[in-house]
């Protein structure tokens, strides 16, 4: 035992205080699994997973105490991607800050753009044109599909079937192509603007999106066919990491993880934004609360997203402005900038000071990002920079829940559980 202790508690060589505090906190944690201490054979091992580990989806560090292969208690250590995005926001104008939101949840950047824009629009009192909001909705739903595709691929890859990852990536490439056509970049798009969007859909882009939503349901059906009745997959996921709805609310899960426990908390219906109130869609929920339920929720959400995009195309006005025609609130169009003096001045002013919400205003706006509720709490001091901008990120909430869920599961389950929770460290670490 003494030797075991010596090996597993090797002196940390960097950030000594931090490591020691972390290990101490693991020892202090109340174990939820009662293990018979009288058995001399129950030697404990502390296993460090991460920060660089194939299954931690980035740089999450999981510190766990093992009894055989069962995790008796675990601690998550985050912050390996912490760059101080909230500090940076205080030093940028609202529009300048938008590219940073791309790099928050880098699997679905469009949702983050929209979340920031809508938060700023609410605090500054800007109404966006109808066509712009439909463009935002379509792209947000595409981003949701793309995020869930990556979740599907990585989760099954973590369970051991590598090919699914590449199959889902093939579909993701199609969405990348669409974003490439619409916005000019594969995935860090920065397409949304305060007061609208940057540019309209080109006919080629519309054609590509229509083709994608025509073909995608078949692919989805194929995955359902190979996974729903796959015994190994079902056995590995059902009952794993199960949590009931009361506990889920208490530990503050968000998004599909919360909906898998039976709580239909979806901002799109909870307090509809854009034109989601006019759309006909259901919020998929399950009651089991385990990893399989999360799988079904997300899979059904992808199908719903396709339906929403179809309805958007039906209801979208054929022509119309895509940005507010008010130079105090949004960028003027490029035509105006190139051919008129006022346009140039406005463009310059927008870049220099940007939108100025009233002093002392505080406001919150959330959208339903693929991972859950993504909200921005903004405090304004009357200038073009936010005084304080707080990001309410879904991955942060989900990771916090993960710390509770992992207790009592097996080492092999950690990977599917982390995959099933689908955290993005850039989102959670801010």
């Amino acid at each position: 035992m003494e030797l075991e202790k010596k090996i597993s508690r090797k002196k940390p060589t960097y950030f000594r205080e931090h490591q020691e505090a972390l290990y101490k906190s693991l020892e202090d944690k109340h174990a939820t699994v009662e293990v018979d201490k009288s058995d001399p054979l129950t030697t404990r091992m502390t296993l460090n997973m991460g920060p660089q580990h194939p299954a931690t989806h980035g740089v999450l560090r999981v510190l766990m105490e093992l009894d055989g292969e069962v995790i008796t208690k675990c601690r998550l250590d985050t912050g390996y991607l912490h760059r101080g995005i909230e500090k940076m926001a205080e030093n940028k104008t609202y529009q300048e800050f938008m590219p940073y939101t791309d790099r928050m949840d880098y699997i679905s950047p469009y949702s983050n753009n929209v979340a920031l824009c809508m938060a700023v629009e609410r605090i500054a009192g800007i109404e966006i044109p109808e066509r712009a909001s439909y463009i935002r909705m379509i792209c947000c739903e595409l981003a949701r599909i793309s995020s869930h595709l990556l979740w599907l691929g990585t989760m099954i890859m973590d369970a051991g079937a590598l090919s699914y990852f590449l199959w889902t990536f093939r579909e993701r490439e199609k969405i990348y192509d669409i974003f490439d056509e619409v916005t000019g970049h594969r995935f860090t798009v920065s397409h949304s603007r305060i007061g609208g969007v940057n540019n309209d859909f080109t006919p080629a882009a519309v054609e590509k999106i229509r083709k994608f939503i025509r073909e995608f349901p078949d692919e989805l059906k194929g995955w359902h066919k190979t996974l729903d009745r796959n015994r190994i997959f079902v056995d590995r996921n059902s009952g794993v990491g199960a949590i009931d709805h009361e506990e889920a609310i208490a530990i503050g899960l968000a998004g599909p993880s919360l909906r898998a426990t039976g709580i239909a908390y979806d901002i799109r219906t909870f307090e509809p934004y854009l034109h989601y109130a006019d759309m006909d869609f259901v919020v998929p929920t399950r009651t089991e609360g385990d990893n399989l339920a999360r799988y079904y929720c997300r899979m059904e959400e992808m199908a719903e997203s396709v339906r929403i995009i179809e309805q958007c195309f039906d209801k979208m006005p054929e022509k119309g402005p895509i940005r507010v025609d008010d130079a105090k609130k949004s960028y003027p169009s490029k035509d105006e900038v190139y051919y008129s003096m006022e346009g140039l001045i406005h463009d310059f002013m927008m870049t220099d000071t940007g939108v100025c919400p009233p002093a002392g205003a505080e406001s919150y706006h959330a959208i339903e990002a693929p991972k859950g509720e993504l909200g921005f709490y903004i405090q304004s001091d009357g200038t073009g920079h936010p005084w304080r901008l707080k990001i309410n990120s879904p991955s942060f909430s989900n990771l916090q829940g993960l710390e509770t869920i992992l207790d009592g599961e097996m080492v092999a389950d950690t990977v599917v559980l982390i995959g099933g929770m689908d955290p993005v460290m850039g989102d959670s670490d801010k």
Binding site: S8, G160, W167, I232, M410
Partner: protein, 322 residues
């Protein structure tokens, strides 16, 4: 004869590596390696050259002797296994009269390599991999043995050559389908291939037992894995698919001179082996991995009782027929 077989087996691992990369690429809508040599055929050789010339790291706290010894065991057991496999009626290294027992004994030796590697490298991930290997091998050795016992009943001999000859008319897969299924699953588990690759479990244990191994020591494990794939497919062929026999050969195949018969037999044997190697690869790239407790449950509560039942039923039927 031995030299010929060795020359055949060693490159076969390289070919299996290449095949795995191309087949996986095909499954995943990719090209796979196609730049090195014609169709990328020299890719495994370039990997081996690189691995040979890489720095060899032995962890400071590792048990040096066992750490160096461990990679040799899986390779040697794979090569030893070939000793009793008949490639044709006349081409085999030796015909042991207890060949089946020999095979089982050698197969259970190979677990030492994995377990020792896991223990000796003094890493927690490796240790977990090694422990899983030990448990997995023991639980799948038993169903495999019992499935083989049901094969022996048909041949009334422990010699591998006689088992193959007993299948001249009817392959064992038709006479003993449940035994075939059990043996195939056990062979997958013995070769540590997906869905039973939780010994190396890249996503959980980084590399499992070979996490700490670098350069050619890792390369040896890598090659041993593919040798076990080849050997595993050979064993399935020999025990259940009539070895070198064409289907129902006894009924229609004319008498041939030993030379021509040998050439035909070897080709038939190779084709069957290649097919099963393909199945190994195919399964690996499409199925998720088992969890440790599921694996144990499958081994002890499903496969072992089924194998014993199968053995008993066959024994009773054979007793009444004869």
């Amino acid at each position: 004869m031995l030299a010929v077989v060795l020359l055949f087996l060693l490159p076969s691992a390289a070919v299996a590596v290449y095949a795995e990369r191309r087949v996986s690429a095909f499954i995943q809508n990719r090209y796979g390696p196609n730049r090195v040599g014609p169709l990328g055929l020299f890719q495994p050789f370039s990997d081996v050259i690189k691995l040979f010339l890489k720095e060899d790291i032995i962890p400071e706290k590792a048990n040096r002797f066992l750490y160096i010894l461990a990679p040799m065991i899986p390779v040697s057991t794979a090569i030893i296994t070939v000793a009793v496999i008949p490639f044709s009626e006349f081409v085999y290294i030796t015909n042991l009269n207890v060949g089946v027992l020999f095979l089982l004994a050698v197969a259970s030796l190979s677990v030492y390599g994995v377990t020792l590697a896991g223990w000796a490298s003094n890493s927690k991930y490796s240790l977990l991999g090694g422990l899983r290997a030990a448990a997995q091998m023991i639980s799948y050795e038993l169903p495999m043995g019992v499935a083989l016992a049901s094969v022996i009943l048909f041949a009334s001999s422990l010699s591998v050559l006689e088992i193959v000859q007993s299948q001249e008319l009817w392959w064992n897969v038709f006479r003993n389908p449940i035994g075939f299924v059990i043996f195939t699953i056990a062979a997958f588990a013995e070769a540590n291939r997906a869905p039973f690759d939780l010994v190396e479990a890249e996503q959980e244990l980084v590399g499992g037992f070979h996490t700490e191994y670098s350069s050619m020591k890792f390369g040896t494990f890598f090659l041993a894995e593919y040798m076990h794939v080849v050997v595993g497919s050979m064993l399935i062929t020999v025990f259940f698919f009539g070895g070198y026999h064409l289907p129902f050969a006894g009924y229609w195949l004319p008498e041939m001179s030993p030379l021509w018969k040998s050439i035909l037999d070897i080709h038939v044997f190779l084709i069957k082996t290649v097919f099963f190697a393909f199945v190994f690869i195919w399964v690996r790239w499409t199925l998720p991995r088992f969890k440790f407790n599921q694996l144990m449950r499958l081994g002890w509560t499903r496969m072992l009782p089924l194998a014993i039942l199968n053995f008993a039923v066959i024994a009773i039927i054979l007793y009444y027929i004869s």
